[in-house]
Symmetry: C2
Subunit: 337 residues, 2 copies
Amino acid sequence: MSDPGKPTMSDVARMAGVSKMTVSNVVNNRVPVSDAVRQRVLEAIRETGYRLNVTARVLKSGRTGVIGLAVPDIGHAYFGHLATLVIAEARRYGLHVALEQTGAAEAGELDAIAQSHRLQFDGLILSAVGADPGTLRLPAGNFPVVLLGEQGFSGRFDHVLMPNEDGAKAATLHLIDQGCERVAFLGAGELDRLSVASRRQRGYLAAFAERGIEPDPDLMVPLSGFDLTSGREAGRWIADSGLGIDGALTVTDSVAQGVLRGLADRGVSVPGQVRLLGFDDIPEAACMVPSLSTVAPDHRWMAAKAVDLVAARIGGAEHTPAEHMAPFELKIRESTA
Amino acid sequence: MSDPGKPTMSDVARMAGVSKMTVSNVVNNRVPVSDAVRQRVLEAIRETGYRLNVTARVLKSGRTGVIGLAVPDIGHAYFGHLATLVIAEARRYGLHVALEQTGAAEAGELDAIAQSHRLQFDGLILSAVGADPGTLRLPAGNFPVVLLGEQGFSGRFDHVLMPNEDGAKAATLHLIDQGCERVAFLGAGELDRLSVASRRQRGYLAAFAERGIEPDPDLMVPLSGFDLTSGREAGRWIADSGLGIDGALTVTDSVAQGVLRGLADRGVSVPGQVRLLGFDDIPEAACMVPSLSTVAPDHRWMAAKAVDLVAARIGGAEHTPAEHMAPFELKIRESTA
DNA sequence: TTGTAGGCGTTATCAT
DNA sequence: ATGATAACGCCTACAA
């Protein structure tokens, strides 16, 4: 007795007394097959427990029907939400989405690209925050890549952009107009790097410029990360700093959520003593206490656009790379009332 | 000129003036290759932009090094968090994780299994909430599947279980011991189905039994979903119901987050007028205002165990399926003070 | 150290 | 309507 191994089309064909090709045709409902033969084949499939070997099919077609979505951290509410939307949009094209986690580091992003080749994705949507799009190395040929959320346009890929500057500017103006005189920006970084954070910080600065106010460098505070914990530390810091901060724009909603908590730790009321404004409009924002005012980019629009672009390239389109800026809305809620 | 197509080993071999096999050996660092030849091959690889076609290799080896992780909805904080942990654990085995979304429906879960075959995963970790483990159909052969978080043990798969009953019981006892006389359970379902919700509800009932208190059916309220929005509605309902509810255990932390907001909408204070307790200990729980008391299963333990089990089966282990119950801790925070 | 032959499981093409 | 043959790109086994 030899090891039976997984049954193949040949096994089915032999059992049904037909050729491999006929089995293939039955499995794929392709050319007409006589009812008698079809039944015999289906019967043989059942008996052998045969399952199509997709790898072999992929080897021939060169297509997997899978696109990668690489994000810094799926644990972050924003990316979880985004992923859900991308998956929904991809379904419209019959595309499957596999998620990669880059860890918000350049190495991870480069690896995601390498992996997307390894895993034979047909394309990749990359939410890059660490790597410079100008220097990203790609798999051979013109592999469909769409960059998401980052604003450093390289001219090499399609970019779906968030309205980082305009959104942050509108948000800051709102805080100023609400009467805040000491508005902080939480999540500051090096302005020369084209990170999400620096883009938003530029918007913050643009608002001050428009109002003819001199920004105070002490109010642009860097964070150890863009998560709840860093936010909480920042919230406590605001209370302890003695800088008289009465308004704050955070680099993300998750940070704002932490800040809210950090302020509560110190008994500081929002919006009473400090008005708080976030960025992203994650689903949790409306359910915080107080509910969080925030810059709300149209996430569905972004997901749809990104998928449309990869799908088009996968379909063979050869348009020159372009930027696509998502619309946004400033959502005013309790935290800046 | 003909379409060059993607370069293959043959292309590289031709350019380097060697055989395909030599190229293969260089690429895989296998048998010794003379330095001269190696250089020529590497040079040719660079020039052609050749990249290994993994599909072809998989067709021979039958292994992809990828496991699937199928969860109801990655947009939910809990699953996002879980995914992060599983990805980290899988890395220890050199395994890659691809995420699937099942939509919390049986159809989605069955599809996830079908897909994991389609995508040639080596194994699957399935967080099943809809399908009955007893009736799940598997890909051919003994495909490594580990069920996560569900408590209906089938005897057919390894299960990594959450302490649903014990956790909910401990939580409910805590509420009772804090002096709550009207403790509600938010997220009730049909007790006969072995869902996560019904398991937790059993724990809730067990606590009442232990204290010799008759539970009030009006206090076991079903929800339209296990998300923020349903929670918010439930919170308002608590305030409007006139049932005198002064304590509540929710089926998940996300629901509790919504409830917190719904109560705030009605000006009900937590824990002053209503004490609130969640389940899961998502990262957000500690940062809510007030911070959320919750049942905290050891997520890292669960992720590690699940990965260990699939990895073992992928490695050929043939142990009989078993249950593995995660340890938990009751985290007391402000919401039940 | 390098090359040749054959096959992994499927499908396109052309023939019957 | 069905079958034979030849790829798809790589790797194992063996030969030189």
